[in-house]
């Protein structure tokens, strides 16, 4: 890790004086919020891991998640649909970075365009998740009901579905709030709020939240679908 040269970075001022971390107050608080959120997700995922380690066997994700919309009967395509979801989220994260950067350059039109793309990405991800939940629900999976057997052919407990729906649901709720935040950012940008304020720092905070949502998905995707 290279030590950043503090001299090159312009000084950020807090109302009480110079910022000890050389970032805006709101951004620092967003970081601390995200840290607490990371612990919440971490606790969920570690609880899932603990239960999985304490179970003799566990359902095989490649048998459970093997469908995509419009697929024909009898075929199976494990990992395909969830890969598409993962790429949607990564790309929406990239457009968010572009929106943040456009904001730093005070280019309103570019901010608007990239925010719209990010919102579309978020909505696409939510639609995919809605389809997947509906599909699993039709197969009989829900909180408290697990139609899937363990990998070794033994009866599975409801732990698998309980954790799946709770954790992907909590993540989906974060995506949903992220989309709402981005829509608010879009409306504020279109109303010239940031233009009048002279800076687009609010977009940077929204961006941090959106990247965090993407980050959590990296972990959820790996823990539930891959391993």
């Amino acid at each position: 890790m290279s030590t950043p040269t503090t001299a090159a970075v312009p000084t950020k001022w807090w109302s009480g004086g110079r910022s000890p971390f050389n970032v805006e107050y709101g951004k620092l608080m967003m970081w601390y919020f995200l840290m607490s959120d990371a612990f919440t997700f971490g606790a969920f995922l570690i609880a899932y891991g603990t239960i999985r380690f304490s179970s003799t066997s566990w359902p095989n994700p490649n048998e459970v998640f093997q469908s995509y919309p419009g697929m024909s009967e009898g075929t199976s395509a494990p990992l395909v649909f969830v890969s598409i979801m993962t790429f949607i989220l990564i790309i929406s994260s990239v457009t968010m970075v572009l929106a943040v950067r456009a904001g730093q350059e005070m280019k309103k039109n570019k901010v608007v365009l990239n925010l719209i793309l990010t919102i579309i990405g978020g909505l696409a991800f939510l639609s995919c998740q809605a389809w997947e939940w509906t599909h699993l629900h039709h197969e009989g999976a829900w909180w408290g009901s697990n139609p899937f057997l363990n990998e070794d052919g033994t009866q599975s407990s409801t732990n698998f579905t309980n954790f799946f729906f709770t954790i992907t649901g909590f993540h989906g709720f974060h995506v949903f709030s992220g989309v709402i935040i981005n829509i608010i950012m879009l409306i504020m940008t279109l109303n010239n709020v940031f233009e009048k304020r002279g800076h687009y720092l609010m977009i940077e905070k929204a961006g941090l939240y959106w990247h965090f949502v993407d980050l959590v998905w990296v972990f959820v995707f790996t823990c539930f679908y891959l391993i």
């Binding site: 090159a8 000890p20 891991g49 003799t56 993962t86 572009l98 990296v218």
Partner: protein, 139 residues
Amino acid sequence: MQPTTHAEQHGNKHEIRNVTIILTVLTLLELSLGFAMMKMADGSTAKISTKIAIIILMLAKAYYIVGYFMHLKHEIRNLIMTIVVPLTLFIWFIIAFLGDGESYKNLRNTYDAHKKAVSTQKVEVKKEVKEVHVDDAKH
């Protein structure tokens, strides 16, 4: 409050593109390992090592997202430390809890005869599948 001027960022225009490519490649690697893993036997050394490889790739992706997309790598050291140091709690968290889960499983399978019986009893295969097998046997 002063508006932020990020003069230092104009130099690394390629950074976003490069990180996007890295994240895509890492995801594709993860997926190919995921596909390769399907053929491996449950609990085999090969499968466990593949899982560890996937976790390492996952952490690499997390590093690129936090470091570059969330811009943490370009913040000053004090800020990086207040974020990263508390997160090291996760190291203890993971070792302690997963170890506890593993130990609970072993204790139950050793001392709880009922639990052991339930966890090793295979569920009858579905009826339609069974009939097909019977037909196969006749022919």
